[in-house]
Amino acid sequence: MSILGGGIFKGMAVTLRNFVGSYFYKERLTTNDYEWRPDGALPQSIGDYPKEEGEQLSDTTTVNHYSRNFPMLLHDTGEPMDTIRCVACKICERECPPQCIYIEKSTEKIENADGKPQFYPAKFDIDVSVCMSCQICVEVCPFDAIVMNSQFELSTPDRFGGLLVRRDDLLKSNDYYHKIHPQEAATRDQKMADDKAAKEAKKKAAAEKAKAAAEAKAKAEAENESKEDAE
């Protein structure tokens, strides 16, 4: 700091370097580019935006693997309501921090994708104007029935009902989930398959155990009987 104003000139050299450098190096720009995102994930030009009403830019958009916006309900391959995973256990409704989920349980059971009779949500509403995208519902769901969507074009002129998403609009197929979150969906499917296998193995083991116990009992009884006979 020998010359007065030297520090200011030093600083100005930095701004000059940044000004010139920004023409040659992207990282000197004060705007970001998202080169790490998958190709075509963000609209590149004005032509990429939806042209027709109802067309969703985000239906084909993978912003990144863990992107999350609002929850959606999953169903397996087939008719949405026949293969819905949700059994209306209401855990997500209870755990939701901003309390934006409303569920009404059905009175009768219908068969789910595995052919097992289960309850289903007669009503499943999510108020996305309240939802804070925290993903707690996804984590607490024991049936892997609710996951995060990455659809973000949700603006609506309807102030009251427009952001209250009903069950039928929330229902999305597992294929769609695979499309928007390939990595996460694969791990979730794997986990579900593992759980199922573990459950079946446990059931089998329990059955075998019961069988063995029954056999042992029968044997013991037979022995007893033969003892009694001998006496």
Binding site: G11, V14, P97, Q135
Partner: protein, 402 residues
């Protein structure tokens, strides 16, 4: 001599003397006319003043440009965080902790996760511990570049330094988004680990960013640290003595700027901080002025980079979360956990009563407690200095008001 009508409850001036106006320039005398009175000027700065970093208000009483009394008014952003958390399960409060200090959601998550982990006694896997340190130190970089940018902004350098700071911040936020799905409201930490592993290639991108960061810091220091305007505006302004800092419970960079060598990363060595080699910058404590507080942050960023380099080099493969059920009932207990947040000691105090919800949930916010010495630092200074003193404290109103 002036009888002023006080709207706020100011009380006595610090010295207790009746105040004498000193606004007249040398060689001039204040005209005293019958029936004319002079009085102190009361200004309510805020709650929507750009210099107050959110909805914060300073009721100041001015004599000319000199601050003779200052009363901070806050609570505009109160969201009932603590009572909300007492009415929901332990996990459900996690996303709300993001919104305390919205620049540093990762460290907020960590402080809360540590408290709950003490309650349920769960082991955190090695890889998760490393990622926690990486995320926390990246958060510290985010916080400090933002703080320095806004601090210089408060000095009147609108634009350039803040834009450079935000450019670097955005690169780190991109990393956060890739890992957690959100730039700011990350909600990434879980009791016993983290929500998910980082995606493929993330660590390499983080390494690249960390390798580039010192070059940015060099440039940023060259831009700011010797600038004569910054020196004359910040040196000797807003002095905070070591004694007052300790007595007021100040923590974090602000305490270290007043010459106290106290960093919870060294003192508590929570997580795995004892494995890393880093230094704690602190000033000699002669002044504890705004320049010290500014420089401490610049130096801390260097140390954060050092920690990040070690953590990114050593990070092992493995599990990301221990075995914890999502809803749990801890045994009745009382815990306090604290971490060295970028702003200071961030603590969470929980009382468990054996149900799924905490009986008491309390946050010890560094922003609020560091703000308590604002009046002491501002009195006697100029009104323009009050703005930069507030800027140098580094508050986020989301945390002050909760």
């Amino acid at each position: 001599m002036g009888t002023h009508t006080a709207r706020g409850n100011f009380g006595e001036t610090p010295t207790g003397e009746s105040h004498r106006l000193t606004a007249a320039a040398p060689n001039y005398e204040l005209l005293q006319q019958e029936g004319l009175e002079t009085s102190l000027l009361e200004i309510s700065m805020g709650p929507h003043h750009p210099s107050t970093h959110g909805v914060f208000r300073m009721d100041v009483k001015l004599d000319g440009e000199t601050v003779v009394e200052l009363r901070p008014v806050f609570g505009y952003l109160h969201r009932n965080h603590e009572k909300l958390a007492e009415n929901m399960t332990y996990l459900s409060s996690m996303p709300f902790t993001d919104r305390l200090d919205y620049f540093n959601s990762m460290t907020n998550n960590w402080a809360y996760a540590l408290a709950a982990e003490k309650l349920i006694e769960v082991e955190v896997p090695e890889r998760a511990e490393y990622l926690r340190v990486i995320m926390a130190e990246l958060t510290r970089l985010v916080n400090h570049v933002t703080l320095v940018g806004f601090f210089i902004n408060d000095l009147g350098a609108l634009g350039t330094p803040l834009m450079y700071a935000f450019r670097e911040r955005e690169k780190i936020l991109d990393l956060f988004e890739q890992a957690s799905g959100a730039r700011m409201m990350c909600n990434y930490f879980r009791f016993g680990g983290l929500r998910n592993d980082v995606p493929e290639g993330w660590l390499d991108r983080a390494r690249e960013l960390v390798d580039r960061f010192p070059a940015f810091l060099d440039e940023y220091e060259q831009l700011l640290c010797e600038n004569e305007i910054i020196l004359s505006r910040t040196q000797g302004v807003g002095n905070l003595s070591r004694e007052l800092a300790i007595n007021a419970g100040i923590t974090g960079p602000m305490l270290r700027a007043s010459g106290v060598n106290y960093d919870l990363r060294k003192v508590d060595a929570y997580g795995i901080y004892d494995r890393f080699k880093f230094r704690v910058p602190y000033s000699d404590g002669d002044t504890g002025d705004c320049y010290d507080r500014f420089m401490i942050r610049m130096l801390e960023m260097r140390e954060s980079v050092a920690i990040l380099k070690q953590a990114l080099a050593d990070i092992p493969e493995g599990e990301i979360i221990g075995k914890v059920s999502k809803v749990f009932k801890p045994k009745p207990a009382e815990v306090y956990s604290r971490i060295e947040g970028p702003k200071g000691e961030l603590g969470f105090y929980l009382i468990a009563d054996g149900t799924t919800k905490p009986y008491r949930y309390r946050v010890r916010p560094p922003s609020l407690i560091n703000l308590t010495v604002l009046r002491d630092m501002c009195l006697g200074g100029k009104i323009a200095d009050a703005v930069i003193i507030l800027g140098s404290i580094d508050i986020v109103l989301g945390e002050v008001d909760r």
